[in-house]
């Protein structure tokens, strides 16, 4: 089951104590509001997921599937390509000036919203102002923390005035939570019921907990969309999704369980992509035995991450470091013990003055991450070999979230969102005045300095060097124990051509723009 994740690229799951049953959702009803455009021609593609679309307002969605579906309706200023590089979307180019404190975007001409209105700089200003308005409650507003104001510079350019040079703002702008919406609809307050964007598909109808229907946007700026209609439907079990793809009632089945993906018949094509998230054992390093660096290093050396990967997701993924993917991915995955080394672990324990080991408690929530129980079991056995006793405390989803936010844990098996930009991932945990400093459980002037240095660096070389140093700092201090990144799967019917999963939440279904159906 795929758990809700925020745009915020945050941690574990936007929740659902009932996640075990593929929790779909309620929400506004009124099915089938006919879109004001002509009937779509072309084939229908049914996309199935165990979850369901929960909300329509792109600024407040937190569920993974909501990002995927609304990502087809809305565009952002910039977006990632399949190599996780930033590429133009509604902005055609951008540049920094004034010592990096002014960021100017040139905007695409001749783009229309679904309601027919023309896209201009006013829409960008209104959309982002809506996102940062506290009343909206947009979790991605924090990406714009260093943006003082956004002003239009003519109809097709906008300027961001920054309080300091900030490169990660570009990465933040790829979020569906920072989608561009028409000024008119923002003023009318209709976006929670009637999505209205510039993307390849336009909204047709929504039946909460059940289905979400889009049709091709005939005026799409990126070229003709060949699929006539996309229906996102909810099927509660992955096995049933697989059967439905095999039977032909579903063309694209979104899966996370390797055991299901591996048993598909030959006729069904399986596409997989490393999910832009990571699993980690987060540690509260400020008190108790974990305040001792050598104890943490002992844990880092004793845990067999490859075995954790094998046992929790059948090896279908990759052992990763703090920055799992993208141009700044951590290599090696850890500066200390990239592979398990029990002798080193024992040495560290001796150095810490705990030669016989120590004990601590790690919390998990199988409601939020079904694989966390297996991860914890393996780690527990690994640690026992050097005398470290790890107690496992499994919590209900909501209890886990509450404790996590308050930092009320010694260690926590977490499923966190990732990003190609390390600042986007970790500024909130370890940056100056980080809003997640409490759950992060660790803070140091060195990390703050590296984060600031990386975010303000303008040359690619300086960025690479800083982020490599940052990965090293995190792992040599064993701030947390980074574990692995797992695959996401799509079971694709042989009639669909040109579809492949994309690595980010917002764009994972993006290739439906250009896919065809035979």
């Amino acid at each position: 089951m795929k758990i809700a994740r925020t745009a915020a690229l945050l941690t574990v799951a936007g929740l659902a104590p009932l996640a075990a049953m593929a929790t779909p959702l309620t929400a506004g009803i009124e099915p089938a509001q006919a879109a004001p455009t002509m009937a779509a021609s072309g084939a229908t593609v049914v996309v199935a997921d165990t979850s369901s679309v929960q909300k329509l307002d792109p600024d407040v969605v937190t569920n993974f599937l909501d990002f995927q579906a609304l990502g087809l309706i809305y565009d952002q200023l910039v977006q990632y390509n399949s190599k996780l590089q930033l590429v133009p979307d509604l902005a055609t180019s951008w540049s920094y000036s004034n010592g990096g404190k002014v960021l100017t975007f040139q905007l695409r001409h001749g783009v229309h919203f679904d309601d027919g209105s023309l896209f201009t700089s006013a829409d960008v200003v209104a959309s982002l102002q809506r996102a940062v308005n506290p009343k909206t409650g947009d979790a991605s507003a924090s990406f714009l923390a260093n943006v003082k104001t956004i002003v239009a510079a003519g109809p097709y350019a906008v300027k961001f005035l920054l309080s300091r040079p900030d490169t990660s703002v570009l990465n933040g702008l790829t979020s569906v939570n920072l989608s561009i919406m028409p000024t008119k609809a923002i003023a009318a307050g209709t976006l929670a019921k009637q999505p209205d964007g510039t993307g390849p598909f336009e909204f047709v109808s929504w039946s909460p907990g059940n289905s979400f229907v889009m049709q091709a946007n005939p005026h799409y700026w990126g070229g003709k969309v060949k699929i006539g209609e996309v229906k996102v439907e909810t099927i509660p079990s992955e096995q049933s999704i697989a059967s439905a793809v095999e039977a032909g009632t579903v063309q694209v089945g979104l899966l996370t369980q390797p055991q299901v993906a591996d048993h598909l018949p030959k006729s069904v094509r399986v596409d997989k992509v490393l999910d832009l998230t990571y699993r980690a054992l987060m540690l509260q390093d400020r008190k108790g035995p974990l305040a001792n660096l050598d104890n943490r290093l002992a844990i880092a050396c004793a845990v067999d991450r490859q075995q954790v990967l094998e046992d929790s997701v059948f090896g279908q993924g990759q052992v990763v470091g703090p920055v799992p993917l993208g141009p700044f991915a951590s290599k090696p995955v850890s500066a200390v013990c990239p592979a398990p080394n029990l002798a080193s672990a024992k040495r560290y324990l001796k150095k810490a003055g705990d030669p016989n080991g120590f004990s601590f408690t790690a919390m998990t929530s199988t409601a939020l991450d079904p694989t966390s129980s297996a991860q914890a079991t393996v780690a527990q056995a690994n640690l026992a070999k050097v005398g470290i006793k790890m107690h496992i405390q499994n919590l209900a989803g909501d209890a886990y979230i509450q404790d996590w936010l308050k930092g009320k844990f010694q260690a926590a098996f977490a499923w966190n969102g990732a990003d190609p930009n390390p600042y986007t991932m970790y500024g909130r945990y370890f940056g100056t005045g980080a809003n997640l400093g409490v759950p992060a459980g660790y803070g140091s002037a060195q990390l703050e300095k590296l984060l600031l240095q990386g975010d303000t660096a303008t040359s690619a070389g300086a960025q690479r060097a800083t982020w490599a140093q940052f990965s090293r700092a995190l792992t040599s201090q064993a701030v947390w124990i980074w574990l692995f990144t797992a695959y996401d799967y799509a079971a694709v019917s042989p009639t669909v051509h040109g579809f492949s999963l994309q690595p980010t939440n917002s764009t994972s279904l993006y290739s439906l723009r250009t896919a065809t159906v035979s």
């Binding site: 009803i29 979790a139 509660p236 809003n435």
Partner: protein, 318 residues
């Protein structure tokens, strides 16, 4: 008759008011709040100003009594409150979900009555015969195997053996696409209907045996009436009161049973709406939907009572 109906309605209102207080009290115990329930740990990303604005919107931290009164007010005005997560009126959510649950309940009852009455009647005509034993077997399954086991088994079996999964397509309204709708309702209704059928079968069979034991069927047969007429007109009508009572009880239980079955078969009904709203801490929806379930239960009981006043003239005197 009218006076008794009025009295019952009044007492029903009092009960419902009490139910609303109980539900409200229970929900106050829920840990967490609507903000963290919907955003998960990303709630930690919100700035102080955002958090204050959201708390205000969701009514987090408002005094109990004020929340209760404002909800009661919205119940009385008919929009049943406003859903916190979808920001639409609860009435519109319920309006879409209620017909699905009603259809499921009715279909389950029909299947249950068919199974129960047919096996019960024919089984009792020849106790320990083939039909009777088959009926006892069905009853054992219906009573002993929980609906979520039957449902899970059915879904898996249909999907893997026949690649058939009616719910793999969006739920179709009864009047929108009746054929697809019936396919989508049939299996969940069968799942629930087995349990209902088992209880009704056992009641029917016992009541029939009791009527048979009075010997008046033999008298009727002796008078030259056909077997069909004797069976249905004399025996079954005589056994009707307990069967109706049991049907009422079962319909009441069905309302609770729909929650699990709607989850398994992804039917967008009230039960699913309720479970999802609990996980989202969407209090107005949970409160209103639970109250609707309770009202349904009370109405069913009342109708059952009134029904056997009609069937059995003896109770009228009491």
């Amino acid at each position: 008759m009218l006076a008794s109906v009025a009295r019952r309605l009044l007492s029903m209102l009092v009960t419902l008011l009490g139910v609303s207080v109980i539900i409200f009290l229970v929900l106050r115990l829920l840990p967490g709040n609507a903000v963290t329930a919907q955003m998960g740990v990303s709630a930690g990303l919100l700035s102080h100003a955002q958090r204050v604005a959201l708390d205000h919107y969701y009514g987090v931290g408002e005094p109990f009594f004020r929340q209760y009164v404002s909800w009661l007010g919205s119940m009385l005005t008919g929009n049943l409150g406003v859903s916190l997560s979808s920001r639409t009126s609860v009435a519109s959510l319920v309006g879409a979900a209620l017909p699905v649950t009603l259809e499921l309940a009715i279909a389950s009852m029909v299947i249950g009555e068919l199974i129960g009455v047919l096996f019960g009647v024919f089984g009792s005509l020849r106790p320990r015969g083939v039909v009777d034993n088959a009926g006892q077997g069905v009853a054992l399954v219906g009573l002993g195997v929980p609906s979520f086991v039957i449902g899970t088994g059915l879904v898996t079996f249909l999907a893997s053996s026949f690649h058939y999964f009616p719910s793999s397509r969006a739920f179709a309204g009864l009047f929108f696409n009746p054929w697809l709708n019936l396919q989508q309702i049939f299996f969940p209704a069968l799942t629930l209907g087995l349990g209902v059928g088992a209880a009704i079968m056992r009641t029917t069979r016992a009541a029939m045996l009791e009527v048979v034991s009075t010997g008046f069927a033999r008298t009727a047969r002796g008078k030259g009436l056909s077997k069909f007429v004797v069976t249905w007109k004399h025996l079954f009508l005589g056994a009707l009161v307990p069967v109706v009572t049991m049907s009422g009880i079962q319909l009441g239980y069905l309302l609770g049973g729909t929650v699990v079955v709607e989850q398994i078969f992804v039917l967008p009904g009230l039960g699913r709406l309720l479970v999802n709203s609990i996980s989202n801490r969407d209090f107005p929806v949970v409160q209103s939907v639970t109250l609707i379930f309770a009202a349904g239960f009370i109405v069913v009981n009342m109708l059952t009572d009134m029904l056997y006043t009609l069937i059995d003239p003896r109770t009228r005197a009491r």
